[in-house]
C-alpha cells in the first residue's frame, strides 16, 4: 500500500526508500540458471510475500536477500549497500525449525545464543529472554528443550531467537508450511501483531496463496525455470486483518482468483 506497484520493475531504482533492492539479480549454480533476472524493491516496514510454483527459486531469492548466496549477476543491496555476507539486521526464520534450533539448549538457551552473539552482557540476558518468550507466547517454557515442544512452539521459539537479534528485516522461508491449519492461522495473527509492534520489514516466502494475500502488503509471483518475476499485486485490505472478515472480503477473493490463475498458467 505504501509502495506503488510500478517501482517493482524499474531496472535501477532510486535507493532512497528501498531497504532491500534486487537489481537485475541473476544466479547460476553449477551451470544451471536458477534465477534470471529479478529486480524488485522492498521498502522499510513493508510485508512482501513471495509465491510461485516449485522450482521458481523463491527460497533461493530469500537466501540471496539474506546474504547466504551471492548473485552471479546484478546486485542485492541493503539500505543502498551491496550485501556481501549475512548481516545482523537481517534475521532468517527457517522452515525446518527442528533443524534450526539447538537441541542441546533449552528454549532460554536458544534465545541466549543470539543474545550472546550480539554481545549482550550476561546480567541483562535473563530479563530479555523472559520478555522475548512472553512476546511469542512461550512464557513459562524457558526450561524446556525444543524436543519437548510441539512444532508450533518450536517455530515460535525460532521467531523469538530471530527477534533477539533486533532485526530490521525478517526473512521467513515457508515458516508455517509444516504446521497444521489451526496452528498456522494462530501464528499468522501473532506474527502480524509482532511485526506491527516492531515495525520490521518482512519478506515471507510461502506456497499458500491465501496466506500470502492474508499477510502481505504486496504479493510477488515468480515464474519457474529460471526464476523471474511474473506478477506483482498490491494488497489493499484493511489492517488489522481478521481470519474471517479479511478472507471473505471481495478484494481478497479477487486477489485470490488472480493469484490462482497466475500459478495455474505458470505450471
Amino acid at each position: 500500500m505504501a509502495e506503488p506497484a510500478l517501482a517493482l520493475v524499474q531496472a535501477s531504482p532510486p535507493p532512497a526508500r528501498a531497504q532491500i533492492a534486487f537489481d537485475n539479480v541473476a544466479l547460476t549454480l553449477g551451470g544451471k540458471a536458477i534465477i534470471d533476472t529479478i529486480s524488485l524493491e522492498v521498502s522499510a516496514g513493508e510485508i512482501l510475500c513471495v509465491v510461485g510454483a516449485s522450482g521458481c527459486g523463491k527460497t533461493t531469492a530469500l537466501r540471496l536477500a539474506a546474504g547466504l548466496y551471492q548473485p552471479t549477476g546484478g546486485s542485492v543491496r541493503f539500505e543502498g549497500e551491496p550485501m556481501r555476507a549475512p548481516r545482523r539486521e537481517i534475521a532468517v526464520v527457517f522452515q525446518d525449525y527442528g533443524k534450526a534450533l539447538l537441541p542441546w539448549r533449552t528454549a532460554a538457551g536458544n534465545i541466549s545464543l543470539a543474545l550472546e552473539t550480539i554481545g549482550m552482557p550476561a546480567a541483562q540476558r535473563e530479563a530479555r529472554i523472559t520478555e522475548l518468550l512472553a512476546k511469542v507466547g512461550l512464557a513459562g517454557h524457558a526450561a524446556k528443550y525444543p524436543t519437548e515442544m510441539s512444532g508450533g512452539m518450536q517455530q515460535r521459539l525460532q521467531i523469538a531467537r530471530c527477534l533477539a537479534q533486533d532485526p530490521k528485516v525478517l526473512l521467513m522461508d515457508e515458516p508455517f508450511g509444516a504446521l497444521d491449519a489451526m496452528t498456522r492461522q494462530g501464528l499468522q495473527d501473532e506474527m502480524l501483531a509482532l511485526v506491527a509492534a516492531t515495525g520490521a520489514t518482512v519478506v515471507f516466502v510461502t506456497h499458500d496463496l491465501e496466506e500470502a494475500i492474508y499477510l502481505g502488503d504486496r504479493v510477488v509471483g515468480l515464474l519457474p525455470h529460471p526464476g523471474r518475476v511474473g506478477l506483482e499485486l498490491t494488497v489493499d485490505l484493511p489492517r488489522p486483518r481478521d481470519q474471517l472478515a479479511t478472507r471473505e472480503h471481495p478484494e481478497f477473493l479477487r486477489l485470490r482468483r488472480a493469484l490462482f490463475d497466475f500459478i495455474k498458467a505458470s505450471e
Binding site: L68, V92, P103, W104, R105, L113, K144, E148
Partner: protein, 255 residues
C-alpha cells in the same frame, strides 16, 4: 515400577553371590588344584594383605596412572584431530584412506615397534596406550563433526558468530554424543593396553603383579590382581556413564 527395578537388582546380586558360592564350593572340594584355583576366601585375604602392606595399592596406582595418562592424551589428540578432519570435507577425503589403513592394525603388533623406538619405558607405555585408544575416539569425533546439521551453520552465519563460538557453541555440543561414546570405548582399550604394557615392559602396575604372581604360582595373589582389574574396569565405565548422562541430559528429553 520402582519395586521391579529393586527386584531385578536383588536378582542380579543373587546371581553374583551364587557364582562366588560355587567358586568357594569348587575350591573347597578341590575340583581344581589350589595351586591354580584359590577360593574366594584366600583371594580376598590376599587382596587385604596386599593393601595393608601397600604393595597392591602401589600397583593399582601404577595401572590407573598408565591408563589415565594414555587415555587423556588420546582424548586430547583425538578430539583435536577429529574436529579438524571432521569439519572439513577436503580433509576427510585426504586423510580417510590413511585412517582406514591404520585403524584395523592390531595395537599389540606395534608394541615391539614402540619398544624398539622408546625402550622399556613409561614413555613407551604412554605412546602405545594413547595410540591404541585413539582410534575409537578419533573416528567418533570425526563422525560427530561431519554430522553437524548444516542448517545450524547457517544459523551461525546469519548471527555472525565468530569462528571459535561456532566450534564451541555449535559443532562441539552437536558432536558430544559421538565423542563421549568414543571416549567410553577408548577407556576399555586403555585398560587393556596398560596391563599388556606392564606385562611386557615390566612396568610397575597390576599387569606386572598378575604376571609375576602367576609365574610364582601364587594363585591367591594372581586372583586378587585380576579381581582388582575387574573393579577398575567396572568403576571407570560407571563413572563414564554418569558423566555421559549428565552431559547429555538434553538427549533424555528427546525420548
Amino acid at each position: 515400577m520402582r519395586w521391579s527395578v529393586l527386584g531385578w537388582r536383588l536378582a542380579s546380586f543373587a546371581v553374583a553371590a551364587g557364582v562366588i558360592a560355587l567358586w568357594q564350593f569348587a575350591a573347597d572340594h578341590r575340583w581344581i588344584s589350589p595351586v591354580f584355583l584359590p577360593g574366594p576366601d584366600r583371594a580376598w585375604a590376599s587382596l587385604m594383605r596386599g593393601f595393608t602392606s601397600g604393595d597392591l595399592l602401589a600397583k593399582l596406582v601404577g595401572t590407573l596412572t598408565h591408563m589415565a595418562y594414555g587415555w587423556l592424551l588420546a582424548s586430547i589428540a583425538g578430539i583435536a584431530l577429529g574436529a579438524m578432519i571432521g569439519s572439513s570435507k577436503t580433509m576427510r577425503l585426504y586423510v580417510a584412506p590413511t585412517l582406514e589403513l591404520l585403524r584395523p592394525l592390531p595395537v599389540s603388533a606395534i608394541i615391539p615397534v614402540a619398544i624398539a623406538a622408546l625402550g622399556l619405558s613409561q614413555g613407551m607405555a604412554l605412546a602405545v596406550i594413547a595410540f591404541g585408544s585413539l582410534w575409537p575416539l578419533l573416528l567418533g569425533t570425526i563422525h560427530g563433526f561431519a554430522a553437524v546439521e548444516p542448517r545450524l551453520y547457517e544459523v551461525a552465519r546469519v548471527l555472525h558468530m565468530p569462528r571459535l563460538a561456532v566450534i564451541f557453541k555449535i559443532a562441539l555440543p552437536s558432536a558430544a554424543p559421538d565423542i563421549l561414546a568414543g571416549m567410553r570405548l577408548s577407556l576399555t582399550v586403555a585398560l587393556i593396553l596398560a596391563v599388556v604394557c606392564e606385562m611386557l615392559a615390566g612396568l610397575d602396575g597390576l599387569g606386572q603383579w598378575v604376571l609375576l604372581s602367576a609365574r610364582a604360582f601364587r594363585s591367591a595373589d594372581l586372583f586378587a590382581g585380576v579381581m582388582l582389574l575387574g573393579v577398575i574396569g567396572y568403576v571407570t565405565a560407571l563413572a563414564m556413564s554418569a558423566a555421559e548422562s549428565r552431559l547429555l541430559r538434553w538427549q533424555a528429553a528427546r525420548r
